[in-house]
């Protein structure tokens, strides 16, 4: 199958072929022209493919073979928590009573769904140490924006409308500043120090009466725990700002430290990371937001409440920021996350973090002899290496990533965070065995040797994939974004 083009489904289309089986038309029909004005009756039928059912299965099976998933092999993509996606989650999400219920049914007819959501919220409250949780946000970035809108509403209702700035570390995810902008804030960057942690002096410098919030990932994107978190919280709180926790790295601290106890006022979680909702090739995710008590009034509506034995949706929330999404969030993903939490229990979640952190430290130590280790201290669930040693030999981090494809691995995150040169960010997760880690380490060591002995082998990689390196400049300069006959 190497170097074989997979035709587009449109290129396999043959007029007259069908792949569907619609219900019988068991009523008397009327001429369409009697029901719709002429100019609203479509003339040209959309040119969708005309293929048989087997054609479709062959097409998508062929495409799936050209795709690397977590089940295909190791996927140490830093900051993305590519852990195993349990299959029971998929089964449960497909139960008819979860998959085929309508969000606008009478609440009495969906008590099971509301109970699950309520119980998931209870679990997430305990896990994060927050006072209340909303499941409405659809993904991490959506949760960030929701959380910032809550902070904005809080400040505004205190008459504090001059708090226009959100502080973000230079190592933050790109979504942090973007979410701040969409929520109407200006972003201020706080520098990291030589240890990879937020520079406290710089934080003191940028914080002030215009500070709405500090957004922080802890451990940060370098995989390092911000050990000055208590002091940082104090600085921000003393200035009247709120502390926002980006939950992307929660897998590092389950049962070890809760955002709520660290002083955070708002938290978002990525249920598709820590809590195994599958990544789906880029979504759907789920990004619940947890808050401390003083922010509860502003939560998106409706909120789920327990009234005796009954679960109800409360829309009477005068201070709510409003809706951030129709209905109640990505319920299907929330079902998966709930199933996962119930499969693990408290001691299971504790072991998740311990094993994830052991795996990351083990890999870091074994690779430190071959790659530059910018921050030599215990990491949490992930760590960063720098490819600057290899760069001097003419081998870029991008080349190393592409060479890993030849070994059957998905490469780590590269060139992020931005404050590390030629960055390689590795997150093994707890679901990988030592044997898998060792094989990957050996591949990385071999590539380091190749960089010295046969650099062109790395520079020209990948050699075994269905397609070579693609011309991204061409794609952007002359965009072709759809098929045309």
């Amino acid at each position: 199958m190497l170097n074989q083009n997979q035709p587009l489904i449109f290129e396999n289309s043959t007029p007259g072929r069908i792949g569907y089986s619609l219900p019988e038309m068991d009523i008397d029909t009327v001429e369409l022209s009697e029901l719709l004005p002429d100019e609203y009756i479509r003339e040209n039928t959309p040119d969708l493919p005309e293929v048989s059912e087997l054609d479709i299965m062959r097409h998508y099976t062929a495409l799936s073979k050209r795709n690397h998933g977590l089940d295909s092999g190791f996927y140490p993509l830093g900051s993305c928590t590519m852990k195993y996606n349990p299959k029971i989650n998929e089964n449960v999400a497909r139960f008819s009573g979860f998959a085929h219920i309508h969000p606008l049914q009478e609440a009495s007819s969906v008590q099971g769904a509301l109970e699950l959501m309520y119980d998931l919220q209870q679990h997430l409250k305990e896990i994060t140490g927050m006072d209340e949780v909303t499941l409405q946000p659809a993904a991490g970035a959506h949760g960030e924006w929701t959380g910032l809108m809550l902070i904005r509403a809080y400040h505004e209702s205190n008459g504090d409308s001059n708090r226009t700035k959100v502080i973000v570390p230079d190592s933050a995810h790109g979504t942090n500043p973007a979410s701040a902008t969409v929520a109407g804030f200006e972003t201020v960057t706080v520098k990291s120090n030589e240890n990879g942690l937020v520079d406290i002096e710089d934080l003191k410098r940028v914080v002030g009466p215009d500070t709405a919030a500090l957004m922080l990932t802890n451990p940060n994107t370098l995989g390092l725990f911000e050990e000055n978190i208590v002091e940082m919280a104090e600085i921000v709180h003393n200035a009247g700002g709120k502390l926002y926790y980006d939950g992307a790295n929660l897998n590092a601290v389950l049962s070890k430290a809760r955002p709520g106890d660290m002083g955070f006022d708002v938290v978002h979680l990525n249920l598709h990371k820590t809590f195994t909702g599958p990544h789906g090739g880029g979504g759907p995710g789920s990004g619940p937001v947890g808050v401390k008590v003083d922010l509860i009034p502003y939560l998106p509506k409706p909120v789920i409440q327990k009234d005796g034995d009954e679960f109800v949706l409360n829309y009477n929330r005068p201070y709510s920021i409003g809706r951030v999404k129709p209905f109640y969030g990505n319920f299907g993903i929330n079902v998966r996350a709930y199933t996962y939490i119930r499969s693990m229990g408290p001691d299971g979640l504790k072991a998740v973090t311990e094993n994830a952190v052991i795996n990351a430290n083990y890999m870091m130590r074994r690779l430190a002899d071959y790659y530059d280790l910018p921050f030599d201290r215990h990491c949490k669930h992930e760590f960063v290496l720098s490819g600057r040693k290899q760069k001097k030999l003419g081998v870029r981090t991008l080349d190393i990533a592409k060479r890993l494809l030849d070994f059957g691995y998905h490469p780590p995150t590269i060139y992020f965070p931005l404050n590390v040169e030629e960055c390689i960010m590795i997150e093994p997760t707890e679901t990988e065995s030592k044997e898998t880690l060792d094989s990957f380490i050996n591949a990385m060591i071999q590539i380091a040797k190749e960089a010295e002995e046969t650099p062109e082998l790395v520079q020209e990689a990948p050699h075994t994939t269905v397609i070579g390196r693609l011309d991204e400049t061409l794609a952007a300069r002359k965009p072709i974004l759809r098929f045309k006959k």
């Binding site: 119930r342 052991i358 130590r365 759809r482």
Partner: protein, 450 residues
């Protein structure tokens, strides 16, 4: 005692070896950088773990507490629909190469996903009559909100007009986003079930960035896009249409009426209702607005050997590059659901999408006539897709309660959103409803006409 779990492969021996390699005595040392004052002590007070079979049993029971649309007959729509979903959709979706993959940032090993999205973009363009479609948004409502932000950014204007015939929850989402951007939202009333054109004309001026119209609208009616377009473009505002893409199998697409942005939700194509999500927003624009589209775009290119391939492209628009200069913060989208929609659209194909759309119009029309014959007043009657409104003589929730006892999930209570529409029920009749089911609904409801 070691925690044994099927998802955790680390043995005691592994752990010993690894800790030795790391150079620590115990796992606790790895957490010594967490200040004592914030260390969590003890265990989470959450439910204990359950075995696979016990958990399945418990959750099966929980799911059974819900009245689902497969065990019952549903006439509830209002933005989420019970449609024919080809069984192959779930077979494709269950291929773990798709659902366990991350965003296709490494194109050499993600050609399958990238090509599938490229095909999705093409199909959305075909349905909407637009030039460019992105790889998906969270849902139709947030896509509409993002269309508002795009419009404000692109026209440098601060007012957004929304027709009151737009989905009430979508309007709320638009308002929340608008607050973040300090945009003013003006709602235009409806007249006879469609956007009041005269009221729109009165509000139009050079401060208006965009006008948002739902087609078919929340009441099921076909909006007069032709007349709307003239009013909107006269003031150089952007014409934003939120559209049920299935309806576009039979209705003239918004692109033909010179819409600038078309958004909506592809839930109608192979995506289960799932209590409201995850669904699949889509976002389509004219080529003029191509570089302002939020979210991910897949483009075609070639590799070093000239072979065709696909990559994420025009990423300079996106949050991970632009950071605080980005106009949208979307990162994760609904890729897997876009795949589901693609498979369903492929299965339906050119003929099926038209046939299915027309079946909705015909069956809804049949039901409408049936209700009229039973003495019901059908309000806002006129060209419509698969929904219509009947006037009842009592609380809709009371009626729905009775209907559910007969295995029927009744329509939407419009009194929830419109004071003037108390005791009015919005009914959806899709291609799945049989004559027998429709007749039964009318029979069960015969005492409720006003």
């Amino acid at each position: 005692m070691r925690m044994k779990h099927r998802y955790l492969p680390m043995t005691e021996e592994d752990k010993r070896e690894m800790l030795t390699q790391i150079g620590v005595e115990s796992v606790e040392e790895l957490f010594s950088d967490i200040p004592k004052s914030v260390r969590f002590k003890g265990e989470y007070q959450i439910k204990p773990a359950k075995s696979e079979s016990a958990l399945l049993k418990e959750l099966t029971k929980l799911a059974q507490k819900n009245a689902d649309a497969k065990a019952n007959v549903s006439f509830l729509g209002a933005g989420v629909y019970d449609h024919y979903s080809p069984v192959i959709v779930d077979h494709v979706l269950s291929r773990s190469e798709f659902y366990t993959a991350y965003t296709p940032y490494q194109p050499e090993i993600s050609q399958g996903e990238l090509q599938a999205i490229f095909e999705f973009q093409t199909m959305i363009c075909e349905l909407t009559g637009m030039d460019v479609a992105n790889s998906s948004m969270y849902d139709g409502a947030t896509a509409l909100a993002e269309a508002g932000m795009l419009s404000a950014g692109s026209t440098k204007r601060k007012k957004i007009i929304v027709s009151s015939t737009t989905h009430p929850e979508a309007k709320e989402v638009v308002r929340t986003y608008a607050k973040g951007q300090n945009l003013e939202i003006i709602e235009i009333p409806y007249k006879d079930g469609i956007t009041d054109l005269e009221a729109l004309k009165e509000q139009m001026n050079s401060d208006v960035a965009a006008v948002m119209i739902q087609y078919p609208n929340f009441f099921g009616r076909v909006e007069p896009l032709k007349e709307l377009e003239e009013i909107i473009h006269e003031h150089k505002a952007l014409f934003v249409v939120s559209s049920n893409p299935l309806a576009l199998g039979a209705l003239t697409p918004p692109g033909n009426f010179k819409a600038d942005i078309v958004v909506g939700d592809a839930q109608v194509f192979g995506i289960p209702m799932a209590f409201g999500g995850p669904h699949c927003g889509y976002f389509a624009v004219t080529s003029k607005l191509m570089r302002k589209v939020p979210g991910r775009l897949v483009g075609q290119t070639v590799d070093e050997n000239g072979q065709r391939g696909f990559v994420l492209t025009l990423q300079a628009r996106e949050q991970h590059i632009r950071r605080d200069k980005a106009t949208s913060n979307i990162c994760s989208n609904q890729a897997l659901n876009a795949l589901a929609a693609s498979v369903a659209m492929t299965a339906l194909g050119k003929q099926g999408v038209k046939e299915m759309a027309i079946a909705n119009i015909q069956k809804a029309h049949y039901a409408k006539r049936k209700f009229e014959n039973a003495g019901f007043e059908v309000i806002f009657a006129g060209p419509s897709f698969n929904e219509f409104i009947i006037k009842c003589n009592q609380e809709i929730s009371t009626i729905n309660h009775t209907l559910l006892n007969h295995g029927i999930i009744g329509g939407y209570d419009l009194g929830r959103d419109f004071n003037e529409l108390k005791n009015h029920m919005l009914l959806a009749v899709t291609e799945l409803r049989t004559k027998e089911e429709i007749d039964q609904l009318v029979a069960e409801m015969e005492d409720y006409h006003a």
